[in-house]
């Protein structure tokens, strides 16, 4: 579904990245593959939207980054959630569930 990625809301991408990093630190490609995996391939995140989002979130203080070695010995930049990031994840999760319930009930209403 190549069209979904362009329609990905900014807020949604942020939430997905936060969620992905909640368990472990990952590099860019890892994040993108992980999102693909946990959304069962619904969302495919391309570098063109991934990197701006990562840097914006790092600037906002939700992520921190450091250089490390990848599984096959390549240098890669790893991202990890900060304390503020975890808080943000909580807030956004809460918001999202409110919205999704609201949307669902709105759509379910006749």
């Amino acid at each position: 579904m190549p069209s979904t990625q362009t329609n990905l809301l900014q807020g949604t991408l942020d939430l997905l990245i936060l969620k992905t990093l909640a368990l472990d630190e990952l590099h860019g490609l890892g994040i993108s593959r992980r999102i693909e995996q946990i959304t069962n391939g619904t969302f495919q995140v391309k570098p063109g939207s991934l990197f701006p989002a990562l840097h914006r979130m790092e600037e906002a203080g939700w992520l921190s980054s450091s250089w490390g070695e990848s599984e096959n010995n390549r240098r890669a930049k790893y991202y990890r959630l900060t304390k503020a990031g975890r808080k943000q994840l909580e807030t956004e999760t809460e918001q999202w569930s409110k919205i999704s319930i609201a949307i669902a009930s709105a759509l379910g209403a006749t």
Partner: protein
């Protein structure tokens, strides 16, 4: 927060590193992607190509990342700023009061700083000027702290010291006026004689030609002159070929060797410099010279002074009849030029900083009051998940915006103030031409603006971010009692404000009192200063070389001036009050033993016969001079009261004889015919000085003061100038002014510092009053409910009034107490600036405390009265 600051730093300052790191990151992504594709079976080449295509155009991606990064920083900053500006605009009365208070504070501080920066901090216009030193002499009988030395002292210094590169010498206050003749109209010019090393010591370069060279100051050297650029352009039309030519000074041919640019100024103005032609001295004197020299590298002023002390001991041992208490003070050039005003300026700087601090405290208080009404806003935002640091930042952005606007306005105030100050120079400040609003001043001004913004923004910000969510929401819900933490903070700020005001008031009060005493000092003459017109008359060195012709000229001048309409009387003298001391010398009294310590140098004034009468110097015994006291008759003198009391062994001095200098010099005896009151000749702040007068007809000088007494003195200037020109067009008349203006000018510096500090104190008082008023009326409005309750329960209006005023006075009491302690410490630094008032003067301290308490009472009365008029019914319903 630190991570945020460091990331901002990274973005702004290390752009290139950020860029290349981004490159690395994208490269890494592409290669990881290629690896993945290779694992899935693609050939390495195909995998890399596909990976690059998928990663997309790198430049475009980088652009997007950059936008995302910059966006978030700028976005929040802009939002905060816009929000802040909107808030400030919505509350215009708060904004205007705060901006005005701060702008005044910042403007005043900037003005004072630009003076301090120019006068005290900026470098002197000489290379390595910190190594330049002035060398003076101090000894009895001369008794001047920084006295002028003789050639013999200079030669002792030059041959015995090793601390200085090249001891040099120049004449203080000019060598006098010279007649410059030939090439155009004749002119009296101011000359300074300097030793050969003078210019090379200062390391200044001539505009044309050369300066004096080593060895050109011996008795056999040719007469040479270096002209100032001003004289060269004025008198010689800027002719380049004048260098090397001979001009006539007092008819003596002198060769022009160079021209100094007008940018070269030393301690006093002069038209030209002559080379000193030093012959081996036959005696120690006269004493017109000041030493100037450059310390050898690595030698400190202190070391140089230590060496000069040893030399002084040696010189004194060799010349016991000339000197006692001999020393050669070494003073850095900077101290010599600005030493006297440094303390004044530092006191003024301290005063203006206190004022700024008071303004900041005041605005902080206003912000706190306002923060109260925003407490719910903050609590709501906190509960909705805003970070405390985010709120803190927003409050700081708001206060910084306020401070920067005030700073800009303050800068405008400073620009105007500095221009005014330079045009007017009310304090007679040295080096005023170096005062500018320049880069340093601008940076200073920006810094204090930001600092004040942070200072007064931090207090309410910390308060707001520390406040407990629950209580805020609850407290705000009903106006019961206001937040006690904030109340305490406000009270503390008011106490600080009152304490600071008291320190400032006490300092200003002391200066005002001492200035009033200084202005009230009796200068020693009874004529009204507005009725006396004084000027300096210079007859030059050639035309009237014969004493008789000079006396005849002065006599003709006096006759002429006396006949002018409106003139009551006229006199000439070689000294005038309040600070134009003539000569001073030791004296010998017939029948009293002579030592330097018992017969120190006193003022000697040459006067025409009616000088004492013209100024109204009271006659205490004997008689004034008369027209019969002329050359050839018995020499007579009139002495001052304190001279009569101190040096005549308690007996009546009238009829006794005395003479100038020590007995061995063989001066003629003079009969004392009168005793007159003491006159201040060395400044209004000096102690009463012994002096004696003799008639100019017994001895004359080429430069004298003319004093005209008339009820229309101020309007006589053109008439008198015209009369003198008709008598002799070559006579130079300078410094024409009334005695009233001259006396005012002599106290210009104390007036300046006193005036400034008084203005600061008045502003501080005003700010304190506003501060107290604000806090008390705010607390009344917060306690409306409580007051209503009290009144409903039967409290009388009077008791409410007392309660509220009591609160204001309590704060004032604590503030005054702390302030008194501070003032006691701070005013000790005023010491040397005070005239017959001690730093801890109880009258001043009590006076300013009462004044401040009265202001506190006054500014809490109005809100208290309003509080006592509260209608209990309305108040209880009021929310």
């Amino acid at each position: 927060m630190r991570a945020r600051v460091s990331s901002l730093w990274r973005n702004l300052m290390q752009r290139n590193r950020v860029e290349s790191e981004l490159d690395d990151e994208l490269q890494a992504y592409a290669s990881l992607l290629a690896d993945e594709k290779a694992r899935m079976g693609a050939s390495p080449d195909a995998a890399r190509r596909a990976a690059l295509i998928e990663t997309g155009g790198m430049p475009q991606l980088k652009e997007e990342v950059r936008d995302a990064k910059a966006g978030i920083m700028l976005d929040t900053f802009w939002r905060d700023t816009r929000f802040g500006v909107r808030l400030l605009l919505r509350n215009p009365s708060f904004t205007v009061v705060a901006v005005l208070a701060l702008a005044l504070g910042i403007g005043a501080t900037t003005i004072v700083f630009s003076i301090v920066n120019g006068v005290l901090l900026s470098g002197l216009p000489f290379p390595e000027s910190e190594r330049l030193a002035m060398v003076y002499i101090h000894f009895t009988p001369q008794n001047q702290e920084h006295g002028t030395m003789s050639i013999a002292d200079y030669l002792d210094w030059k041959t015995q010291s090793h601390s200085f590169e090249e001891p040099s010498l120049y004449t203080n206050g000019g060598w006098g006026l010279f007649d410059l003749t030939g090439a155009g109209e004749s002119e009296h010019v101011r000359a300074t004689a300097v030793s050969a090393g003078f210019f090379s010591t200062l390391q200044v370069k001539p505009l044309l030609g050369r300066v004096f060279q080593r060895g050109e100051d011996s008795g056999s050297s040719p007469r040479e002159v270096v002209l100032s650029e001003g004289l060269w352009r004025r008198h010689f039309g800027g002719r380049q070929d004048i260098v090397g030519q001979s001009i006539r000074l007092n008819t003596i041919p002198t060769t022009v060797v160079g021209i100094m640019p007008s940018s070269f100024r030393f301690t006093h103005d002069t038209d030209l410099w002559l080379n000193l032609r030093i012959n081996p001295p036959t005696r120690r004197g006269p004493f017109p010279y000041i030493g100037v020299a450059r310390l050898k590298p690595g030698v400190t002023m202190r070391q140089a002074q230590a060496e000069m002390d040893v030399i002084a001991q040696r010189v004194q041992r060799a010349n016991p009849t000339s000197y006692s208490n001999l020393s050669f003070p070494v003073v850095s050039l900077r101290d010599a030029i600005v030493g006297k005003v440094r303390q004044s300026l530092l006191v003024i700087l301290g005063g203006v900083f206190s004022l700024l601090l008071i303004a900041v405290v005041n605005v902080a208080n206003l912000m706190l009051t306002r923060a109260a009404s925003r407490e719910r806003e903050m609590a709501v935002r906190l509960s909705l998940g805003a970070g405390r640091s985010r709120l803190l930042r927003q409050l700081l952005v708001e206060s910084t915006v306020l401070a920067l606007v005030s700073g800009l306005l303050g800068l405008a105030v400073a620009f105007g103030g500095v221009q005014l100050l330079k045009a007017w120079n009310p304090g007679n400040l040295p080096r005023i031409e170096t005062v500018h609003v320049n880069g340093t001043v601008l940076v200073f001004s920006l810094c204090i603006s930001l600092l004040t913004g942070v200072l007064f923004g931090l207090v309410p910000a910390l308060q707001a971010s520390r406040s407990d969510l629950n209580t805020s929401l609850k407290e705000g819900s009903r106006s019961g009692t206001p937040g006690t933490a904030r109340r305490r903070m406000q009270d503390a700020l008011i106490v600080a404000e009152i304490a600071l005001s008291l320190v400032l008031l006490a300092s200003a009060g002391l200066l005002l009192r001492s200035f009033a005493l200084l202005e009230g000092v009796n200068p020693g003459f009874q004529a009204s200063p507005a009725d006396l017109l004084t000027m300096r008359i210079s007859i030059g060195g050639t035309k009237y070389r014969e004493e008789a012709s000079a006396i005849a000229f002065y006599q003709g001048l006096l006759d002429r001036v006396r006949s002018l309409p409106g003139v009551t009387s006229a006199a000439i003298s070689d000294g005038l009050p309040p600070d134009r001391r003539a000569d001073y010398d030791t004296f010998t009294v017939e029948g009293e033993t002579w030592t330097q310590d018992s017969n120190p140098a006193v003022t000697v004034a040459l006067t025409s016969s009616d000088y004492l009468r013209t100024l109204g110097i009271p006659l205490l015994g004997g008689r004034y001079f008369t027209e019969h006291d002329i050359t050839g008759s018995e020499l007579v003198t009139v002495i001052s009261e304190s001279m009569a009391k101190r040096y005549f062994g308690g007996r009546d001095p009238i009829g006794r004889r005395m003479k100038q200098s020590q007995p061995s010099l063989g001066n003629p005896w003079m009969r004392i015919v009168g005793v007159v009151g003491d006159v201040k000749y060395t400044g209004l702040d000096s102690s009463s000085e012994p002096a004696y007068y003799w008639s100019y007809k017994q001895n004359t000088s080429p430069m004298m003061y003319l004093t005209v007494r008339s009820t229309i003195a101020a309007t006589l200037t053109p008439t008198i100038r015209e009369a003198i020109r008709e008598l002799d067009k070559d006579v130079t008349v300078t410094g024409v002014d009334t005695m009233e203006n001259t006396m005012a000018r002599s106290v210009a510096q104390p007036r300046f510092r006193t005036g400034l500090l008084a203005i600061f104190a008045a502003l501080a008082l005003m700010l304190a009053a506003i501060g107290i008023y604000g806090v008390v009326s705010y607390s009344v409005s917060q306690r409306t409910h409580e007051i209503g309750l009290r009144m409903a329960l039967g409290a009388a209006q009077g008791s409410v009034l007392r309660m509220v005023v009591g609160q204001g006075l309590q704060l004032a009491g604590i503030g005054v107490t702390i302030g008194l302690v501070g003032a006691f410490i701070a005013t000790r630094s005023l010491g040397a600036l005070l005239f017959s008032v001690s730093p801890g003067d109880p009258v001043t301290f009590i006076g300013v405390s009462v004044l401040l308490a009265a202001i506190a009472l006054g500014s809490s009365l109005l809100p208290a009265w309003r509080g006592s008029r509260i209608d209990p019914l309305v108040a209880l319903r009021y929310e």
